[in-house]
């Protein structure tokens, strides 16, 4: 049951749920949460692939077996930075505007 396909399938479902959240959530925090979900599903993909898939140079370089894990570590670090920046901007916006209701004041396409 725990096969590459199920893991990738699970990751794909989480990813799509994340996209759905990004597309539909009205609250910026919820949008960031959905983005985190997407990053997690990507990480799951990496780890799953790293567990099941043959690294191309395994014979010459054993450390290639760890590539997926390394990638995942980096994704976690970057995602942390991303959410920090995002929330930082949200707070700045909050401070600049106080609690005034925001409308989209940036122009239309025309």
């Amino acid at each position: 049951m725990m096969s590459l396909e199920t893991i990738l399938g699970l990751a794909a479902m989480l990813f799509v749920i994340g996209i759905f959240g990004v597309l539909t959530k009205k609250n910026i925090i919820a949008v960031f949460m959905s983005l985190e979900l997407m990053f997690n599903s990507v990480n799951l993909t990496f780890v799953g692939l790293s567990y099941f898939v043959m690294p191309v140079n395994l014979v010459t370089d054993l450390s290639t077996a760890m590539t997926g894990h390394v990638f995942a570590i980096f994704v976690i670090a970057v995602a942390a930075a991303e959410v920090a920046v995002g929330l930082g901007i949200v707070f700045a916006l909050y401070r600049v505007n106080g609690s005034i209701e925001l409308s989209s004041d940036i122009g239309r396409a025309t």
Partner: protein, 660 residues
Amino acid sequence: MSSLTIWLVFLAPLTSFVIISLIVRPFFSKHQWISPYLLIAGLSVSLVVSVMLFLDTLYTGGPGYNSAYQWIKINDAAIIDLGTYIDPVSSTILLVVVVVSLLVQIYSMGYMHGDIGYSRYFATMALFTSSMIGLVISSNIVQLYAFWELVGLSSYLLIGFWTERPAAAAAAKKAFIITRIGDVGFLIGILFLINHSFALPLSANVNVLHIPDICSLAGTMSAMIVTIITLGILSGAMGKSAQFPFHTWLPDAMEGPTPVSALVHSATMVAAGVFLLVRLFPFISASDTTMLIIAGVGAFTAVFAATMGLVVNDIKRVLAYSSISQLAYMFAAIGLGAFGPAIFHLITHAFFKALLFLCSGSVNHATHTFDMREMGGLRKYMPWTYGLMLVSSLSLIGLPPLSGFWSKDEIMLSAWEKMLHGSVFEITIFALLAIGVVLTAFYTWRMISLTFHGEYRGNDVGDGHGDHSIHESPRVMIAPMALLGVATVLAGFLTNPPVNVGPIHKHWLNDFISSSIVFHHGHHAAEFSVLVAILSTVLGLIGLGIAVYYYKLSQNGKKEPLESMKGFYGLIYNKYYLDDLYENIIVRNILQKRIVNIIAFVDKYVVDGLGLFLGFAVKNVGHVLGLFQNGNVQFYTFVISLGGVIGLIILLMYTPGLGG
């Protein structure tokens, strides 16, 4: 002649441009008077060199091709080098450009005197002249295209020279955009040439962008490709030479200073289209379709533009329509295979039309208007201008022995000969050209009559200044006009006489032009035909007679004779509504409204609609965190994802082996 000497003809005015714009204008703004002298000095150098080049070409065949610098290399058969190609065609046109430009600059010293942008004017003129010279001497079609765009750019700057006039800015923009539409075709033609270079065998040893090579290229491509390329080049030429349907910019371009109209918009730049077609004539003529279209466009525009000239009240616009019409004669000649007469007419037209414009400038200098309804009776005040205007007008009408007669006669003769053993098409062409002669005579005499005859109708006399304000122009303006007058009288008979005249051989210009090696079998001038000469003279006299008759009767311009023909008058007075079609319908309505609305549809209706709806639903959530409630960003991401999915589907469908 060394290659540097040849380049000098281009570099001398360019140096003037650099000195005037980078040194005189910013640092010596108190000494603006020096600018024209710098330019005239530069042009004098050019004149000397171009005379030398001309004589050299005439007697020894000329320096031909010289390459100076490799600009871009696309492949072995498509190299863009900056070089010069001096052959009979280019050396002749070069001489005309330099002479007219020099005379116009001298005239400008008087005409532009006291203008706030005196130096800027001469700087731009220098840029224009050097670009025009560069265009003429180019050996490479891309190099020619580059100068082609540069003359367009300097024309833009010169039309919009008086920046405080909104009409000038609008006219400049219009000229720029419309000529660029024509240039689209030109560029596509060049790109097709490059495309052809990839198909050539390495052993072919040609450069598809080298003008002499292009002329022999037609045999190596399919007829279809030749037609596409030649039509592309033709569209560029039509844009520059203001042929239908690209003609609308030229009348508006009269918003520029009058010397500019004389040099750029009658004598040189607009003739570049004709020059281009003659330059590539062996290639162009390889496509019968293109030749038919050139002849058709030329004959049609000749009449079409002339009709609009019948009712315009602005003296310069009459001349502008006349330029379009005369250029159309050259097009028609090229379309009929008579490139020699086309060049001949180009030369004589350059002289007499430049003179006409300078005369109109002189009139304007006196009356401060271009509106002929406010002129009249000026021959009393401005005898020199009147005399020169009369000579050039009669030349435009084509009365012997003035230069316009000889060149127009050759075009009529070519059309006549084609007609004699031609079909309905050739008969129509000749008929249109003949009608054009009558119309030309009519509007020309109308112009003379409204301007110089009758009583003065303007305000200047009335408000007490009296004769003080209407006076002959200063000598610095009259002198170049007089020189052009001499050329107008002599250039026709002496440059291309129909019989041997002492040391001057008959048809020597035509033979000289045809002797360029690119024309493998030159065009032999048709023998002078008394019948055709009489016919075209009589046609001119008919038009003249009608005009004399009508404007004697209503010589104070109370009523235009054509106004009685209501529908037709409205049509031509509104320029066949083409400006409306282009600007209001195509640009404003279709492009700016419809298409933008289609593209903005999603934004306008979908996103706004969502936002509006949601505004009610989530009021209570309020504040910052509801930022995304209008769904803007989500909509973007939605489109992004959708685009990705569609892209994936395209990939899946069109990747070979996967089912597409």
